[in-house]
């Protein structure tokens, strides 16, 4: 069985419309495409008459929104409750390489360790991820600085790469093979020439992205951990937090950020534990009873965010918790740019030498 197939554009439309019969299908749609050539793409569930356009770069929403919600019940307590109706199987289209890399972090948090988070794992099992190569990039994209390529290499069920008159569909998992098997007549084995056409398109985009990133002078990934550790007492944190308004946007939009708080509520049906996304930029994030707060200052909290991403995760998982998607850069009202922070740490490290 081949792992790369060809599907022409009209067959892809058929494939997507058939998927909707069996699955809840979500896809990114362009916003304000009348007024701009580089619209943002935002997810919504497909309706029957929707025509999906291939998104050339990542969506506004991080992939994690399909697996944990900003606020959701995780359990009832003291009263036995019958399990709710099982959620419909989900297909997510338009996922990009950065999202898949970030997903490794979310999986580590919720599927590994002392306990498996069953709510997350059920959704994970229930979800088919159909990713796609990036064909353009946003000004804030810097995946290559994290050694992440702008086309998916693993972590997807099916990956679509646009060619001139159709797509190559690469199977990345048993679930992907299952999807292709369901609608077999729509796919044909890819030809050697098509696979090499995909390769040259990919290489062209990488070259363009490299050119885009070159003048930005972002430090190498291999330096990140050293920079945040040795820059622990750097002025950088104080300097960059000056414009932080503690909105938490960088955390909430981040595809790797996973922090949450458990809260308790009383509903008509009984008591519930509710999980709410939390942000390490919020003043009370690390506060303990009695008022002691190891992250009392905003500069400490900004540093904490970087230590978690570039020190904790490399130590525990071997990779930083950043996928170079640039969402935090776009969202920040204080214009705090993760690339600039890393660069500043590098500049100050050099000056110390």
């Amino acid at each position: 069985m081949p792992s790369v197939y060809y599907i022409n554009s009209s067959n892809l439309d058929t494939f997507i419309s058939r998927l909707q019969k069996d699955f809840a299908v979500f896809a990114p749609f362009p916003r304000d495409s009348q007024t701009t050539n580089t619209p943002d793409y935002s997810y919504r569930r497909l309706n029957n008459d929707d025509r999906v356009t291939f998104n050339p770069y990542r969506s506004v929403e991080p992939l994690k929104t399909f697996f944990t919600n900003p606020s959701e019940k995780v359990c009832d307590y003291f009263n036995a409750h019958p399990p709710g109706p099982s959620e419909k199987q989900v297909v997510i289209l338009g996922v990009k390489s950065c999202d898949l890399a970030a997903h490794r972090i979310q999986d580590y948090v919720f599927l590994e360790g002392v306990e498996v988070d069953s709510l997350y794992s059920v959704r994970r099992e229930n979800t088919f991820v159909i990713s796609g190569d990036c064909t353009l990039f946003k000004p804030v994209c810097f995946c290559l600085s994290l050694d992440i390529l702008p086309h998916p290499t693993s972590g997807f069920d099916l990956n679509l790469s646009p060619l001139n008159d159709g797509y190559l569909a690469e199977v990345g998992s048993a679930k992907g093979a299952y999807l292709v098997g369901l609608y077999e007549g729509l796919f044909s084995p890819a030809k050697e020439t098509q696979v090499s056409a995909r390769q040259s398109k990919r290489e062209q985009l990488i070259e363009r992205l490299k050119k885009h990133l070159l003048p930005q002078d972002i430090p190498a990934k291999s330096e990140f951990q050293k920079l945040v550790r040795e820059g622990y007492h750097s002025e950088t944190w104080q300097q960059f937090m000056l414009t932080c308004v503690e909105c938490g946007g960088c955390n909430l939009i981040c595809d790797t950020c996973h922090c949450f708080l458990l809260a308790d509520t009383r509903e008509s049906t009984g008591f519930q534990k509710v999980r709410k996304w939390d942000s390490c930029l919020y003043a009370n994030y690390a506060r303990v009873a009695g008022g002691a707060n190891p992250l009392r200052l905003r500069a400490q909290r900004l540093r904490n965010r970087f230590m978690k991403k570039f020190d904790f995760f490399p130590d525990n998982l071997g990779i930083p918790a950043c996928c170079g998607c640039g969402r935090c850069i776009e969202v920040c009202p204080g214009k705090i740019d993760i690339r600039e922070v890393l660069k500043d740490l590098a500049v100050k490290a050099k000056a110390r030498q």
Binding site: V74, C75, D76, Y77, F78, P83, V109, F110, G113, V114, E115, V116, D117, S118, L119, V122, Y232, H258, C259, F260, L261, L262, A263, D264, T265, R266, F271, K273, R275, D278, C280, Y285, A286, R287, V288, A289, G290, G291, A292, P294, N304, K308, D311, F312, D315, N316
Partner: protein, 271 residues
């Protein structure tokens, strides 16, 4: 589907006032529940919120569990108003607790500060249960004033136990207090222990743990045998919610007991 955050129902069976600010709650779980000494639980006030506490009772007693709580924040204040028969929730136990087997055959020094004696009480019961396995147990306990001493009804019994050397001190004396006056570090001089074969277990407010640790290092203790109970904001208890990170560890799942050797290179550990 396993609900990892679901608390089990429990009843507060009794409330014992230890000091004006500290109460011990005797809690009876409605489902089987056990813990190892030093592990902690999340105690839920139904619909209102939860907070982490280390049980203070003997882990070998399974039917009920004591939790000694100082009134400090929102949940602890609400708990202090809760009468006996109040329904609460418990989940856990979480964390690694005290590695008792590492203490076998050793002189065990226990240094407590204020309500920090609570987890140490559970440790003491575990040590007493197998006292022949340890060389001796030396306890140094400090409270702010004599009114702030917890377990006043129990300490005289512990002082009489074989192989146990128990000394209490208060930071500020008063006419009724006949014992030692001075910070707990003042009763760490000339300890009746063999430094080459000793471990130290410290629990108390961060500032106390810091100065006790410095004193112990000064005395000649190796960082690898100083066991500290770290206090952090812990929500999930399972290493997922992110709040209690110190360095590469989560306090909830990798601790809450760490050796000083494990964490000494992490900046700002006492904050």
């Amino acid at each position: 589907m396993k609900e990892i955050y679901r608390p089990i129902e429990a009843i507060i069976e009794d409330v014992v006032e230890e000091t004006p600010a500290i109460k011990t709650f005797v809690i009876r779980p409605k489902e089987p529940f056990s813990f190892r000494t030093g592990q902690f639980i999340e105690l839920t006030l139904p619909g209102l919120g939860e907070a982490p506490f280390t049980p203070s009772s003997d882990p070998n007693i399974k039917e009920v569990m004591d939790v000694t709580i100082m009134k400090a924040g929102r949940i602890t204040s609400l708990l202090h108003e809760a009468p006996a028969r109040t329904t609460v929730g418990i989940r856990g136990p979480y964390g690694k607790g005290y590695p008792l087997e590492q203490f076998y055959g050793k002189d065990v020094l226990i240094v407590g500060g204020g309500v920090g004696l609570a987890p140490l009480r559970s440790l003491l019961y575990s040590l007493f249960a197998e006292i022949d396995k340890y060389n001796k147990v030396v306890v140094r306990y400090g409270a702010r004033t004599s009114a702030d001493i917890v377990y006043k009804r129990l300490i005289p019994e512990w002082e009489k136990k074989k192989k146990v050397d128990f000394v209490t001190t208060v930071d500020v004396g008063d006419p009724q207090w006949k014992g030692n006056v001075g910070l707990v570090t003042t009763v760490l001089k000339d300890l009746p222990i063999d430094l080459k074969n000793a471990v130290a277990i410290v629990c108390g407010p961060p500032i106390m743990m810091k100065f006790v640790t410095l004193k112990l290092l000064d005395t000649g203790f190796d960082p690898a045998v100083i066991y500290l109970s770290m206090e952090k904001n812990m929500s999930c208890g399972l290493g997922k919610c992110g709040h209690c990170r110190i360095g590469k560890f989560y306090t909830c799942k990798d601790g809450p007991v760490f050796t000083y050797g494990e964490i000494k290179d992490i900046p700002d550990i006492w904050d």
